[in-house]
Symmetry: C2
Subunit: 237 residues, 2 copies
């Protein structure tokens, strides 16, 4: 499969590396590849410069948003949630038409410091906003409720835990489910919450997730809905 991963931060890099390791073709999309490669300072998240990472991941291509999207069958939104709409606009709606977008982003607003608040929130969500703005996209919100290392290696967290899925398009959800299975998520771990409106609920998990990160002092944890049933498949994982 040909994937475009939008966003050059730690989430985009982690997902891109995993997809390449599974044999997919991956292009990371960014606004200006030359500028991305020229950056030498560590980013906001404290990860190293992109060029250093790129050198050790020669199988991952880098392209402008539009070029990455044009070549892709499936897109992954791993941009900062506050710039996702701009990134998708730069990708060009014509290159998005009919495609599946796995939306991992959260609309975290750090403008007032830490902990961040969410915008949009409560009566809207980033997932819904993307779906409304780009009706040709088939948006599936998933994986946004955990650290990126756990996204691509759920076994980092011992025991059963869940990944939520929200979206309007059943076929698109099936595509995302297959991707999740290939990342190591057991079938019983995928909780389909219904339409894209339910992304409000999963994006609103971020404040307690951030607080738990501080309390526990690590990021290898995840939400498990005890009493949701299933779980047998995980035992065989």
């Amino acid at each position: 499969m040909r994937y475009a991963v939008l966003g050059t931060g730690i989430v985009g890099r982690t997902v891109a590396a995993k997809l390449v390791s599974l044999g997919h073709e991956v292009v990371i999309g960014t606004r200006d590849p030359a500028a991305t490669l020229a950056r030498t300072e560590p980013g906001e998240t404290g990860v190293g410069p992109y060029a250093v990472w790129q050198a050790s991941h020669p199988d991952v291509a880098l392209a402008p948003f539009a070029g990455a999207a044009a070549a892709a069958e499936v897109l992954v939104n791993a941009t900062g949630g506050r710039v996702s709409l701009d990134a998708l606009a730069a990708a060009d709606a014509a290159h998005l038409e009919g495609k599946v977008l796995l939306d991992i982003a959260n609309p975290l607003d750090f403008s007032h410091g830490f902990p961040p608040s969410l915008d949009p929130v409560n009566t809207d969500s980033l997932g819904e906003r993307i779906q409304r703005t780009f009706p040709g996209l088939r948006v599936v919100k998933s994986l946004n409720t955990m650290n990126c290392a756990v996204m691509v290696d759920p076994s980092r967290v011992a025991g059963e835990h869940h990944v939520f899925v929200s979206g309007e398009d059943a076929e698109a959800k099936k595509t995302v489910r297959e991707l999740l299975y290939s990342f190591g998520w057991p079938e019983s771990s995928v909780l389909d919450l219904g339409g894209i409106e339910s992304a409000r609920g999963t994006e609103m998990l971020l404040p307690v997730w951030l607080r738990l990160m501080g309390t526990l002092g690590h990021t290898d944890f995840n939400f498990h809905i005890q009493g949701a049933g299933g779980g047998g498949a995980w035992g065989g994982h």
Copy 2:
């Protein structure tokens, strides 16, 4: 211990009945006891009239908010989150001074239908607002992230699951912890998230909780933070 449970809905009744069964003295607080007892229509939550429940729970007293608070050592806020501040104002700040308030309420706003939104949310929470408005109270937010049947009987949900605690006062948290243990919560199930600001995070779990209720078709589920450590004590439960 002498408890005042503010609120005559299903949450207040369930907690009051449990406290009485544990040997505590319990007064339920309401705005106007005569009006509460005269109501014959089922309430918003579909529970029966209060008077019918009261008849089968003769050990639970009913009093105006101020009378209930005056007699109590510990208060439980089980009012609707949108009227909690009014209820506490009616209880009279003089009767709240220095007392522990276990705040179970969520600021669910049903004015735009179902699912409800939250108000306050994101940059504030009901727990914080109560603490700010009544600085003499020692507010501990807890138990607000599950159905009331699970609050007082965690064994309804098989396996390990968590109850969060937020608040500024260590002694007040200890009082609430002891209460949780007496309800059947193992020590390892109590996750202290820190100050009352962390109530933002737990109140914001409500939208996904409500969505899960619809998806799963029942309310006997709860959040478990997989990877949070502990869990040994639950095995012996």
